[in-house]
Every structure is written in C-alpha cells, then in structure tokens.
Symmetry: C2
Subunit: 410 residues, 2 copies
C-alpha cells in the first residue's frame, strides 16, 4: 500500500475544526453547543448581496475570469480608494477563493521550498497548513499575553533572519489575538523588510473591526513598501460572507501579481456566485459595516468583562478583529476543550473553543490558552460564559482525582 | 526589491487562457471570437440546480463543512452506486473547490517535494501548474496521434520508474485528447502500480461523455486497487456547472482521505452556493446527461468530419470527453493561435484554440497541434471550422513571404 507524504503526515489538524466530531456527538445527545471556536459571524449577510445571487438569471453557471471580473476589480479598487484610503489599479487585485487561497498563492509565488517565513505567534493556525503545503518553514517569534500580544521586540525578528528568510507575515488586526498593530510597529517592520529585502505579507481581513477609537493602518499606505507589501483580503468577515469564498491578493508588485495570475489560471476561476455576492457587497449601505462593528464591540466588552471576572482567567482587551486569546486556569486546553464537549453540560449546553497550542509553532506553548471568537449575540455569549465559568470550576475539581489515580502507588 | 520564487518563475502560463488578452482585443475590434480554447460548455445548467440557489432563503452565507455537507456526500455515494456502479461510503468523498483543488490536495498528501509522477502526454496542461506548486516532478510518457493517443506501451512506464516515483496520473477519458482508456489498459496500469506500490490517480471528470457505444471503466472498480486508486471528479462538465467550483476527491484509502481532510480544513470550506448547486444536480432528470451526450456526439462527428476534410489536418476521432487534439499543417501553433486572434478574420469572426505545446512536458512536442473543445452548437462550430479552414489557407500563404523576408540576402 502506497504511503502518504511526509508533509501530509506532519500537517497539523485545524485546532478550529478538529473537535467538530465531538461537537457533533454532543449535539446528537441533544446538547446545545455554543460555537466560539470558529470565526463564523452570525450577522446577516448584506441582503442586497444575497439578492444579487437570487435574482441572477443566467442559464449556464460558467467559469468566471481567473482574477475575477474586471467590473469587480474596478469596483474593488474604487472601494480601496474611498474606504481604505489607498490608490490602486484594478490589476493590483486578484480575486481568490477565500483569503486562504491568496495565502497559498503568495507562498508558492514568493518563496521556494526551504525558505523561511517569520511569523509572530500565536498566529492563525492555518498558516501552518499553508506553509507545510508550500514547503515553507515558519520561524515563530513569540508574542506575550502580558502586553496583549503586541509586536515582539524587533531585535527578536532581526536575530531570526537568515539567508533563507524571504518574508514576514502578520495578521492585522490579529486573528487569533485581536491585537491591532500600531503605525510605529508597522514602521519597525518596514525598516527591517527594507534592510533585508523581504516581503511583508499582511493578512488584513479584519481591517474594519477596530474598537475604542483606535486607528487601523494598512501596510499598503506605508511608504517605500510598494514592492514588498502583499495584502490578503476577504469578504468573509467584513460582509459576513464566509461561504462565498471570495478573497483577494493585493499588491503593487507586478512580478508577484503576474506569477499569482499563472496560479490563478491553473485553478481556472474563483466561484461565480461568490463573485456576484462580492461585487454586490460593495454596494451595501454604509451603515452595514458600522452596525456590525458596533455589535461586535458590545460583545467584546461583555466577553472581556465576563472572562476577567472568572477566577484565574487572563483576558487582554482586544483592539480589533473578533477574537480574544485567553489564558485559563487549566492544565491543557486541548483536553479541556474536548472535555467540554464530551463530558460537560450546564443547562444542557456547552461551549466549543479552539485550543491555544494549535496557534503556536513553538512546541509546548499555548497549553493554558484558548481562542474565543465572539460571533454570538450577547444573550448567547452570556450563556456561553455561564457555561465556561461553571466548567472551569467543575473541571479543576474532577481533574484532581483523575490525575491522582494516574500516580502509581509507591 | 524581493524577487519571486524559482517555482513561480518556471510556472508555465495556461495554454488555455494565456491568449485571452488577444481575444479581448479582437472583441474590442468588434470581431466575433469562437471559443474552442476552453472546456466551458454552452449547455444549460440543470434548471433545478440554479433554482435551488435562487430559492435559498438563509440570511447568513456561512461556511460549509470542510468536506462538504453530509447530505451531499451521502447523495454522492448513492449516485456512485447507481450511476457509476461502484459502492463507496460518504466518507470516501471530500468535496473540493473544483477538481483542480482535489488534484492539488492529492499532490500534497501523497507526494513529497522531488517525488516523481508519471503522466502520459499530451496531458491537461494545468497538471504542470499543480505539480510545480507541489514540488512534484512530472515524468512524461509520450502518446502518439497515430493511434489516437492510446496508452503508450507499458514498458515505457516501467522504464521511467525510479525510487522517486510515487504515482501515475491519467485523465480518462482524456482531456486534451478525447482518448477513452480500455479495461485492458487500466489492467496494465493496475499491474504496474501494484508491482511498484504506486498511487494511480485518475481524473474522471469527463466520465459520462463516451461515444460510439464504447464503455467507460472507472478505476474504482478495478480489483486490488482499493488503496492505490484516487479519483478526481467534478460537477463542472457533467452538469455544465464550471462556475460552481465543486469537485471531489474520491478514495477508499483512509490515510489519504484523512490527510486530505487536514488540507480541506485549512482552507475552511468549498463554496456554499456551489454545494447547493452540486447537491441539486444529483436530482436533475435522467435525460439531462444523456441529452448532453447526444448533443456533444453530434458536434464531435461534425468537428472530426470538417477537420479531416481540411488539407493536411490530422484529427483522430475522440472516444470520449469533448476535446479533439489535432495536428495542423502549420509551423507553430502558438504563433498560429495568436495570429488568428490578432490578424485574421473571416466574416468578421475568428477562432480561439489552445496551442498544443502547453499540453506536453517534453520540450518541442506539440508545435503543430492544437486542442479544440467542441463546446459550441453545431451552427457556431461550422462557422468556426469555416474560419479555421480559411485561416489555414491564408496563414501558410502569408507565412511564406514573412519567413522569406527573414532569410538574409546571400
């Protein structure tokens, strides 16, 4: 029997989805599961975007152009001018099947097998999958919960750079930590990528979700990075259109977009209905996004307040996105999250979270941490927090006897 | 300025899409372009499938499960029992974003960088893109137009196998040649993959399109290949739903499906609207596919007749799919296809075809060949053949003086 590849074997399962079978089992037992594990917004997709699909009247569901339609890319460039405040040409955009594909394409186009990519950790867990697929080595720089997962000292990046280093990747604001990078931090990154001639990849899919009057700075507006900056974008979160699977790779570097175009042509096209949704989202009313931000902000405040009121929980206040990366008073978040689904219930409900270790590349880190996506309404979020609070009390009580039974009699 | 990767540089542009800018320019001049370059069927998508999307009434366009919904995979397994004649479990299917993604996933999951994949050429050009992305080395075995691109002698495969060989990939019936592999050829391939413990990857997306009372044999029904056979499928051609971007990886090998599942989770989900289309296609009336086959068959007969009536053209009769791979009396099909779009017109129309060399891995082959997709109705196809016939006469006449001017005076 032929065996699977080494890279297939070392691919980690997604920490966001790997516990799904346990969640399904819990649901089959009639249990309500509060999904805080995945960034699937509950907010309604802009009705005009769904209407655009439902009122379409073509007879053949044909391929779209490989980079997305010219109409969409033109409108997107216009959107970037007006809303992101940066001037781009339609050719600087390649529509992709989710931001995931944009990341995959960037890894193949910009890096060779064995090249190194520096990423502050904890990072979006699926960067691991994409880098292993692409043969790229992730070199993590550890960020810390004490300062809310701010950019680690730039000297840590400097020390990590070798002849193999080809780029630095950040997510701004960060999935999974919610940290919003400051202009100063971006300038520090600029200086280091210019010094070493690296790509600066920035996942900006949560760009709109910024709180407390903070300001988001796109890497596309940082001077001197025209050839270095590659941005990943998506309609998934901004317009609650995850299932549309439309993202984009955005760059002024023509060599990069020409190469990505070859990859885009090889896979033929992004999904046609998704493109219809995407184009229509750009006509959504102005208050669509601002209303969503206000809603997430209320949840964020509720979440942080509830978490920090729990014994032994450390929850920094996220400045952006819709995640909190939280330390819990537990032995092992993998075990705890599985236990929540398999053993625990409170009012016949339980909570699903993503264990923290999957977001680190350094072995052993994140064992006490979880990522929480605040994508439930305030009422559900409150119920989920009731579950978590109760669970933490119960878990540590049941855990002690379990551990004791494993200690051999002397 | 950071440079793109070596693999990005060697990625070939798609021969199917690279001439698109010339076609666009021709259209801007008001010229009708008959698209024979791309396998985009003109046949209507099953109306019930489009209706399923248009009558959907959810409010949030959410992620689908990473492998597709259980409902879809269950119906698909049932479809395979009834229509393909092979018994599979829903877990043997992973829904992908087109067959393209299934191929990408298989390369990553089954092969390491530097591993070798044997592919009879000419082959579907985008296998090049996927193999370069995946760091896999394609070892071509040349098939020949004289026997309609039948499986090359199995000794040629045997000679090509090294310690690095991990699999053999065929497309059955073949894109680009239309060749339908016989049971005997599949058994020869079985013996060799069993002897060397290789994967046998079979792209079966054109499985339904078989003519002249010939019979299609799925590799899933070849004994003893349960752990070796990996099939790629798609709704794109069977149900004229290319823009839905729903394919599938099908295998009974649990290690393979478990590994592919990790890749599927990393990219989150296939497109949700596409899955709705895909599930509904399985309820399309029985005559939907048989009507499409009858239509393609008429076009096939017309095409082959017209082509073989042209001076110096060699067009084997394809047994399946909806492509013909044809030798033309020209110097260079790249030049010819571009010239057709840039310089030629007949009744203010021209024809777009895919140059043959892009479907070969061996340099220098395919220069006189083109791939023609017979995805236009008989009237358009006739007009396109009028263009081609005229063009061949004109091209060779204009070419001779052009070549002569390049010969220096002695």
């Amino acid at each position: 029997m032929p065996v699977i590849s080494n890279r297939g074997q070392i691919l980690p399962p997604s920490p966001i989805r790997k516990l799904v079978p346990f969640a399904d089992a819990a649901k089959r037992k009639g249990r309500k599961v509060y999904h805080l594990n995945i960034g699937q917004p509950d907010i309604a997709t802009p009705p005009n975007a769904l209407r655009a699909v439902r009122e379409s009247d073509f007879k053949v569901l044909a391929y779209a152009p490989s980079a997305g339609t010219n109409e969409y890319r033109t409108k997107l460039a216009n959107y970037y001018t007006q809303k992101v405040g940066t001037t781009l040409s339609p050719d600087d955009f390649i529509a992709t099947t989710g931001a995931s594909e944009a990341l995959n394409f960037a890894m193949i186009a910009c890096m060779n097998p064995g090249d190194e990519l520096i990423v502050p950790e904890p990072f979006y867990a699926n960067y691991n999958g994409f880098s292993i697929s692409g043969g790229v080595k992730v070199k993590p720089i550890t960020a810390h919960i004490d300062n809310g997962f701010a950019l680690p000292p730039i000297q840590d990046f400097e020390k990590s750079i070798t002849a193999k280093t080809k780029g630095i990747l950040i997510c701004n604001p960060s999935n999974p930590t919610g940290y919003l990078y400051s202009k100063e931090e971006l300038l520090q990154l600029r200086d280091i990528v210019l010094k070493h001639d690296l790509f600066l990849f920035v996942d900006e899919v949560y760009r709109d979700f910024v709180y407390d009057d903070k300001q988001f700075h796109t890497v596309l507006n940082i001077d001197a990075l025209e050839q270095h900056a590659i941005v990943f974008d998506s309609i998934s979160k901004r317009y609650s259109s995850c299932g549309g699977r439309i993202g984009a790779l955005v760059s002024r570097n023509k060599d990069v977009t020409a190469t990505v175009m070859k990859l885009a042509q090889a896979r033929l096209s992004p999904p046609t209905f998704g493109l219809i949704v995407a184009e229509a989202t750009l006509d959504a009313p102005d208050n669509y996004v601002s209303d969503a931000i206000a809603e997430y902000d209320r949840r964020r405040q509720l979440l942080v307040k509830r978490l920090n009121a729990m014994n032994g929980v450390i929850a920094p206040t996220p400045g952006g996105a819709f995640y909190a990366f939280v330390q819990l008073p537990i032995d092992d978040s993998e075990k705890f999250c599985q236990w929540l689904l398999e053993e625990f219930e409170h009012n016949n409900a339980t909570v699903m979270m993503a264990p923290g270790s999957g977001f680190y590349s350094t072995p052993g880190l994140g064992k006490k941490e979880v990522r929480i996506a605040y994508v439930l309404n305030e009422n559900d979020l409150n119920n989920a927090m009731d579950c978590l609070e109760k669970a933490l009390q119960t878990y540590n009580n049941v855990l002690i006897p379990i551990i004791r039974t494993e200690i051999p009699e002397i």
